[in-house]
Structures are given as C-alpha cells and as structure tokens.
C-alpha cells in the first residue's frame, strides 16, 4: 500500500514546483507564450493564406516553443538540484528513488503544459476559435509533447551534467536536420509523435505530420516509459564526489 501511494510523492512534487518557479529563469517561461500569442494576433490581422494557423503554430509551436520549454524545465527539475547539491536532502531519506523521478517528472509536465501547451491552445483558439478541431488537436499533441519531451530531458539530466547542450543537439540535429532528411528518424522523434497526435484530431496537411496516430501514441508511451525507468535506475545509483583530493 505504502509502495503504491509512494509512486507520486506530494512533498517532492510541491518542493520541485516551488524550486522551479522560484528560479530566475522562470521568467523565461513567460517569454515564449507571450511571443506566441502576439505573433498569432498579428498574423490574424495580416495573413492571407487560410492555412496560416496550422503552418505557424505547427512549426513554431511544435519545433520551438514546446521543445525549448520542456528542455529548460525538464533538465532543471532534477539537474539544478544535483548541481547545487540540494537533492541530497531528498535522497537522505528512505523515499523510493523511482518515485522521486516520477514526482519531479510530473512537476515538469505540469509546468510545461502551463507554459507551453495551454498558450499554444490559446493561440489556436485566437486564430480559429476555442472549439475548433485545430485548437483541440494542438492541445492534445502539445500534452503528448510535454510528457515525452520531459521524460527524455529528465533522463538526460541524470545521465550527463551537460543535459541542456545534449538536449539542444537532439532537437536541432536529430529532430530538426536529420528528421527532415531521413524518414526513419521520424519514428524516433518526439516532435513527430506530438504532431501525429495533433493531426489525428486537426486533420491538417499543413501540420507536416508523418506518423499515424497509433504509431505516434505507441512510440510516445514507449519512449516515456523507457526514459523514466532509466532515470529511476540512475538516481538509485546517485553518487556524490568527495572533497577534492
């Protein structure tokens, strides 16, 4: 019973939310949503092509706003505490290590939805109306992105001290460059999973989605589960260096 309720630890969740929102870089979180909404409002006035909402929100939302928001948040929920050493206060207790990872992951997902997915939905709602299938589709896809990206970035922050750099490389080179050149890469690209889910509702060729909804969902779940399992395993072997010899 204890083990079941221990998988999400409310104390870890609460401390992580406060720590992440309390850092100075939390202000950056507001920047992307603001830009997104402002450009959407501007485009609504000047754009001529009827496909602009899907084109703009699909590209800017799914290859810039969501991955970068998740990158900043996902790498910091565990990474920042490892850097400053405060994680030891969580780990010097009998709390299950996987539940520490899952609680921190949950905090990252909540924050990414708040600062990435919801603004994306608001922008689509401004462009096409709140009940439009593009807006609903983008919201669904953006939630998938928040989940899968954060699992990946939380894992990265446990595997390397340069999680932001490695995460950026993944986004720019793997998803951005190779994903456009080599079809097979798309099956291993979180951006495509979220677009696949978004497109299953929005049905818009302008979104540039290449995966079927089934493939997208199965792959997103697989990546999330594997990344979190690896992260939990890694945290259970968390080691501290001694004084400089």
């Amino acid at each position: 019973m204890r083990r079941m309720s221990g998988l999400l630890n409310p104390v870890v969740l609460r401390i992580t939310l406060r720590a992440t929102l309390g850092r100075k870089r939390a202000l950056v979180f507001l920047l992307a949503p603001l830009v997104l909404v402002l450009i959407t409002v501007a485009l609504k006035v000047v754009a001529r092509s009827p496909a602009w909402p899907a084109e703009f929100l699909g590209v800017f939302g799914f290859s810039v706003v969501l991955p970068l928001t998740a990158l900043i948040i996902g790498t910091s929920v565990v990474g920042a505490e490892i850097d400053d050493g405060s994680i030891i206060h969580l780990l010097a207790t009998p709390v299950n290590r996987l539940s520490v990872v899952l609680s921190k992951f949950a905090a990252a997902v909540l924050l990414t939805i708040a600062f990435g997915s919801v603004p994306l939905y608001l922008a689509a709602a401004i462009a096409k109306g709140p009940g439009d299938k593009l807006a609903v589709g983008l919201l669904a896809g953006a939630i998938v992105a928040a989940v899968a990206y954060n699992a990946l970035f939380v894992m990265l922050s446990l595997l390397t001290t340069r999680a932001i750099a490695v995460g950026l490389l993944y986004l720019l080179v793997w998803e951005g460059l190779l994903g456009n050149l080599i079809g097979g890469v798309r099956v291993l690209s979180v951006g495509q999973y979220s677009l696949g889910v978004a497109n299953s509702i929005a049905r818009s060729p302008a979104l540039n989605a290449h995966l079927t909804p089934a493939t997208a969902i199965v792959m997103a779940v697989a990546v999330t589960v594997i990344a979190l399992a690896l992260a939990g395993r890694r945290l259970s072997m968390f080691a501290l260096k001694g004084e400089a010899a």
């Binding site: 204890r2 630890n9 409310p10 104390v11 870890v12 609460r14 401390i15 406060r18 720590a19 309390g22 400053d84 050493g85 405060s86 030891i88 206060h89 969580l90 780990l91 010097a92 207790t93 009998p94 709390v95 299950n96 290590r97 259970s236 072997m237 968390f238 080691a239 501290l240 260096k241 001694g242 004084e243 400089a244 010899a245």
Partner: protein, 321 residues
C-alpha cells in the same frame, strides 16, 4: 596505532550491531588512478566518534560511502547490518548532515524539517518536526525563510532535519563549520547527549582545536588511510604537549630572547632577521610568561605568529607519535 576498545565491545553485542553499528571491512574507493580511501577497516559503535584529518584526506568520501552515496570500489560496508549502497531503507536508522550548505532556501525552516519528516513517512510529521526544531533551538527562527539564515543557523536546521526521524546513527560532515564558539559548544553538548542515549554519532572535522573539548573516540584519516585511532584524551595530551614554534617580533628581540631562554616552558630561542624564533613545549605557560616578560622589560610586542600550525604538521605529528 592504538585500538578502540569501547567500539569493539559494542560491536560484539548483537542487538547493538543490528541498529547502530557502522562496519567497514577493507573498504577502498578510487576514482580512476586516484585512491581516495585506502583499505580502511573500522567499526564505529554507539557513542561519539570524530573522524579527523586534513582537507582532502578522504573524510567526505568515507562519509559518502557510509551514507550510500558512493559504492565501495572494494571491501564491505554495512550500517546496522545492511549495506548502504543502493539501499535507501538504511535511512530509516541513519541521519546525514551533509557539508554543502545547499538547502531549499525558499522554504521556511519549519517547512524544511516538516518536509523531511513527511519524506520519512513519520506517523506525526508535525510533532516530529517541532521536537527536532526545539532540540536545535531553532523555534524562534522556524517561520523565516532559510535564505535569511546565517551559516550557523543553516547548519542547525540541517541537523534538525537529519534528526527528525530520531535516527540511531547520525553522520555529520564538518558540522562545526561556520559556527561561532557558543554554537559550537552547544552542538557538542547536544551530540554528546545523543551519544549518551546510546546513539552512534560520527562527525568529521579538519580542525583539531574545534573538538578539543570532546570525549569519545577519534579516527584519524590521512591520505585516504586510517592513520590513528584512539580516545580524545590521549590525542588531546599529544596536542598540548607537542612542541609549538612561534615567530615573535618586538622592539627588543635580543633582550626578550635572553629572558625567554631562562623560562622552563621555552626549549629554544633563535635570533633571526625576521624576529625571534621561539620553541615551547607548553603553549599556555609560554603565552602567559611572554606577556609578563614584555611588561616587566618594557618591551613592545609587535607580532606573535605560530609558524608550524599548518594542519598537515599537526596531523603528521599525531600520526608519528
């Protein structure tokens, strides 16, 4: 190398061993080619034990090994009979006060200790937190954010969090760092009191003078090896009787030198261009006599500098003794 009879005795009592003994058998830890801890065997039982050694000696590595935050490269290490590496359950009986001053500064002291109590899944976390905060005398500051605390207060709130589940074994890494003398005495009294109640208290320190007042046993670590172990009193005797060398600069070095050599506490005087080099076997008597001689001879004392006080020299003296 002397032995630690009390600790050995405690280790042979099986029920004590169950909950409160730290046992190391030939434990080594290396990073690449660098050996941080070298083949250490020791048993630390109920009571207070100081882990002493200069900076970089391997004290923190040893504490991290004990707390399960490092895997031994070789050897066996158990706390209360179970290995600590990859075994968070060990923290049901173990409390750790890390050296790094990184606490959740945005929390209030009370929040921090209560959160720790909840992470331990204590039946009444609020009561446990109140008790630990009271022990550490932090009740007045508990509703302030930790960000506003002084270094000594942070240290105390960290100890309160480590005590919240009333652990049988408490590990403290440099707990006296940043404390003023009064806080230091208070902390020592507290640790000694806990030790009297049958708990195992192990703290590290690189400043011998810091722990002069303590009773109990010590383990001296130098260069990753266990260099000496024994009780505090023996070490303290060695410390006070070891020769001290001071550089003394005055308005009349030669005059003072002549007077000093006549005093029993002084074993040697050398006139150097930088001042008088004075060797003494009794630091207390020397400092009293120096003041009297200067006053009586109307000599202006400009500077008294200890010239062999580096920790390495103190520890190497202890190790060779």
């Amino acid at each position: 190398m002397s032995t630690v009879p009390e600790a050995r005795q405690a280790a042979t009592v099986p029920e004590m061993r169950q909950t409160s003994t730290i046992d190391l058998r030939n434990v080594s830890r290396w990073y690449g080619n660098v050996v941080a801890v070298n083949d250490i065997t020791m048993t630390i039982g109920p009571g207070i034990t100081g882990l002493l050694g200069p900076n970089g000696a391997g004290k923190t590595t040893l504490l991290n090994l004990m707390a399960g935050f490092l895997a031994p490269s070789r050897g066996e290490l158990t706390v209360g009979g179970q290995p600590s590496w990859r075994n968070p359950a060990v923290f049901r009986t173990l409390g750790l006060v890390p050296e790094r001053d990184s606490v959740y500064a945005f929390l209030t002291g009370a929040d921090f200790v209560r959160s720790t109590a909840r992470l331990h899944q204590l039946p009444d976390p609020d009561a446990a937190a109140r008790r630990a905060i009271a022990i550490m005398d932090m009740a007045d500051a508990q509703d302030r954010r930790i960000a506003t605390y002084s270094k000594g207060m942070r240290q105390r709130i960290k100890v309160a969090a480590a005590l919240v589940h009333d652990p049988q074994v408490l590990l403290l890494d440099e707990p006296f760092n940043g404390m003023d003398p009064r806080q230091r005495l208070q902390m020592m009294d507290l640790l000694e009191d806990m030790a009297l109640h049958g708990r195992t208290i192990l703290f590290s320190s690189h400043i011998l003078e810091e722990v002069e007042r303590m009773s109990g046993t010590i383990q001296v670590i130098v260069g990753g090896r266990l260099a000496a172990s024994g009780d505090f009193r023996a070490i303290r005797r060695l410390m006070t009787s070891r020769p001290h060398v001071f550089l003394v600069r005055t308005s009349a070095d030669r005059l003072l030198g002549a007077a000093l050599i006549g005093r029993p506490a002084v074993t040697g005087v050398e006139l150097t261009p930088r001042g008088l080099q004075v060797r003494t076997s009794d630091f207390g008597a020397f400092s009293r006599e120096l003041a009297v001689l200067c006053r009586d001879g109307d000599i202006r004392l400009r500077e008294v500098l200890p010239s062999d006080e580096s920790l390495e020299s103190v520890f190497s003296y202890l190790v060779s003794a």
